[in-house]
């Protein structure tokens, strides 16, 4: 597109308006986290008159944030790794094999995305309880239960995205690997996966973000021992006070890992989303 003067004006306006829209809340978040409690309880000011780092110190004491952080990290990382691995296998099957039940599988998996969460929240909880009663495997109030739930949440997208990605890799490549003496799994590991790397990374980011940000199921499936950040942050609102400055500080800290991860890998995310389009 040629850059006419009109376009430049348009661009300046759009970027300024959207830039403000995006930035103001981020600015408020950062500056409020640097204010003493009295200042965030009073009228809002753009510039903090009393800068302090206390909220970043106090927030670890007001609630056991460190423990929530560890829980969120373990749950999200394990769920991501498992979800990606399982999705790769399933996507490979969908992409490279014609078998009975293939359409049923893909349609069903896709349609699970339409289920309202409230519909299956309580049943899932009851199923977990029953599993516990019959096998002794504890799923409610443990990280394991959360991991299983979250990894399944991201599975449908991951399978579809990867299957699409695998489809875009010429079959000749893995056929050739087969001839070279690799089995189908060898072809997957040695040919398909390396070529699908951006897709795999995109799917991993997606899985991680899903697990890190989930609120609803976390509030049912967690107890003090496995509580994640998404529900833990609510506890800054206590019986005696609402620690807005610490809420903002904690929100900032818990956002950093996902934001950095996402932004570093956004290239792959875009590439993953557009895979076929460029080929």
């Amino acid at each position: 597109m040629r850059e006419t003067r009109g376009f430049k004006v348009y661009r300046a306006v759009v970027l300024a308006v959207l830039g403000l829209f995006v930035l103001v809340p981020l600015y408020v978040m950062v500056t409020s986290s640097l204010k003493p409690l009295r200042d965030v309880q009073g009228a809002f000011t753009w510039w903090p008159s009393n800068l302090t780092l206390d909220p970043f110190v106090d927030m670890w004491k007001t609630v056991p944030l460190a423990r929530y952080f560890v829980n969120s990290t373990i749950v999200s990382v394990v769920a991501t790794v498992c979800s990606v691995a399982i999705a790769i296998l399933a996507a490979f099957a969908v992409s490279r094999f014609r078998f009975r039940g293939r359409t049923v599988f893909t349609t069903t998996v896709l349609s699970t995305q339409m289920f309202p969460g409230v519909l299956f929240l309580l049943p899932l909880f009851l199923i977990f309880v029953n599993i516990n009663n019959s096998t002794g495997l504890q799923l409610v109030g443990t990280r394991l239960g959360l991991i299983i739930t979250y990894l399944t949440f991201s599975l449908p997208f991951s399978i579809w995205m990867l299957a699409g990605y695998f489809d875009s890799i010429p079959r000749d490549l893995d056929e050739a690997a087969l001839v070279d003496g690799c089995g189908p799994m060898g072809a997957l590991v040695r040919v398909v996966l390396p070529a699908a790397r951006p897709g795999v990374i995109a799917v991993a980011i997606y899985s991680f973000m899903t697990a890190w940000g989930e609120v609803l199921f976390a509030s049912v499936m967690t107890t003090e021992s496995n509580r994640t950040l998404s529900v833990g942050l609510r506890q800054y609102s206590t019986q005696t006070n609402i620690y807005w400055n610490q809420i903002m500080a904690a929100a900032l800290i818990v956002s950093i890992p996902v934001v950095i991860g996402f932004l570093l890998a956004q290239r792959h995310f875009v590439a993953g989303v557009t895979a076929g389009a460029v080929k």
Partner: protein, 440 residues
């Protein structure tokens, strides 16, 4: 792969996100503590102190003493109010709960109806020290009348009208004895130039709102349920009681319309503690928040929440507080009973009364939550003689949520410039009543 399928993939991804984002629900529950023969009780404590951590610090030595005395270990979890109700729900649903837990005493009859909690029959009552040790009104909150209670009182609370002594003195006012005096005082103390208001109301908190709906209606001699447990929300006494409370913001204009956003009592207490308002009506555990926010003991006084002159009943509070329940599925019933006995004995009550700002639930016990003798006397008097339990019916929880939320909506309408008439109140209460009827 073609663009379309890609995009489809993207779409699905977003769907995935939507799934994660949707949902909604709630609460968590947890495991039963140690299933084998070991003597470890799991105890869920509600948040009473300034933070969950504070509760833990206060309770830990108390629980250690129990372990020393009996050899029974206690596994403590402190649960915030945001989570408590849903945690109890999921525990009830799954049958996997703690051995002993705290409940808001107003939920007692509703929770009793689930059948998930151990009734304190004669034997159990004897095991915890006999029912005669409790203040009768407090024990009455334990469950439906005529049935064995499924909870016993632990911490007593009552409403009082806190007032700022300096502001009252400056205006030459005496603390109010009637509703009318309270309104007049509040109007004199509402000084727009100083950004000072007469009162702060937790007008966006459905739990606070429903308490005042109840208290004001009780002052009119009205009831929310008939003898058969059927809702009678639209009775005239109820409508007028609700309207009288709403009028503090609407007609009397003694509360900042911003109060309609105060979704918990903390916010109104903060306004009082930071001297933005002259009065606040709160339960006696406001003391710790008030002091935590910079007001000194002695700067404020407390009188009973006043009823209108010539009120049918001088009700100044509901019987507020926390009760203890034992989960029916417990594998350590005897240990749990011992624990309940310990938590409700005089020594423990005295130890916990101060940090948690609670009133003793035992006959003849002295309140220790404050060193201000007048304040202690006022609250004891309200708790023992001027309070009435919220309706002891299974639908009580629905009464709280439907009527409380209806009042949230009415306050919202007033705050944003609308007018609420008695007919509007009646219509809102009718809708609440229909909802309760639909799910009973």
């Amino acid at each position: 792969m073609r663009l379309r399928s890609l995009v489809a993939a993207a779409a699905v991804s977003a769907l995935g996100i939507s799934l994660a984002a949707c949902g909604g629900s709630d609460s968590g529950d947890s495991s039963n503590g140690g299933s084998s023969g070991d003597q470890t009780l799991t105890y869920w404590a509600s948040n009473q102190g300034t933070s969950l951590d504070n509760d833990k610090q206060v309770l830990t030595p108390v629980l250690q003493k129990f372990t020393q005395d009996t050899g029974i270990k206690v596994n403590l979890e402190v649960i915030g109010w945001n989570d408590l109700q849903t945690r109890i729900q999921t525990a009830t649903t799954s049958g996997q709960g703690p051995d002993v837990l705290n409940i808001g005493n107003t939920w007692a009859a509703s929770l009793q109806a689930t059948g998930a909690f151990l009734p304190f029959d004669n034997d159990a009552m004897t095991a915890i020290g006999g029912k005669d040790k409790f203040v009768p009104t407090a024990l009455a909150t334990g469950g439906k009348e005529g049935e064995d209670p499924t909870s016993v009182p632990l911490y007593g609370l009552a409403y009082g009208l806190y007032y700022n002594k300096a502001m009252f003195a400056a205006a030459g006012l005496q603390p109010p004895k009637t509703w009318e005096e309270m309104v007049t005082d509040a109007q004199k103390l509402t000084i727009p130039a100083k950004k000072q208001w007469g009162m702060a109301l937790a007008a966006g908190s459905y739990t606070e709102n429903v308490h005042f709906a109840f208290i004001n209606a009780s002052q009119n001699g009205a009831d929310w349920f008939d003898k058969d447990g059927k809702p009678t929300f639209t009775g005239d006494g109820n409508v007028q009681g609700v309207l009288r409370y709403l009028d503090l913001m609407q007609k009397d204009k003694v509360a900042n319309p911003s109060n309609a956003q105060y979704d918990n009592g903390t916010k109104s207490v903060n306004d009082f503690a930071t001297k933005k308002v002259a009065m606040v009506i709160n339960q006696n555990n406001a003391d710790s928040s008030i002091v935590a926010n910079g007001m000194k003991a002695g700067e404020y006084g407390v009188v009973p929440f006043p009823a209108p002159a010539g009120a049918a009943q001088p009700v100044a509070s509901h019987v507020a507080g926390i009760n203890l329940s034992i989960f029916k599925n417990t594998k350590h019933k005897d240990a749990a009973l011992k624990f309940v006995k310990y938590m409700t004995d005089e020594a423990t009550q005295t130890t916990l009364g101060k940090p948690f700002s609670s009133l003793p639930v035992l006959k003849d016990a002295k309140p220790v939550f404050t060193t201000d003798a007048a304040e202690a006397a006022t609250f004891s008097d309200v708790y023992n003689t001027k309070s009435k339990p919220l309706p002891l019916v299974p639908a009580e929880d629905q009464f709280e949520s439907t009527v409380g939320k209806a009042m949230n909506g009415l306050f919202g309408k007033i705050a944003t410039g609308g007018t609420v008439t008695a007919d509007d109140v009646k219509a809102a209460l009718k809708s609440a009543q229909d909802q309760v009827a639909a799910s009973s």
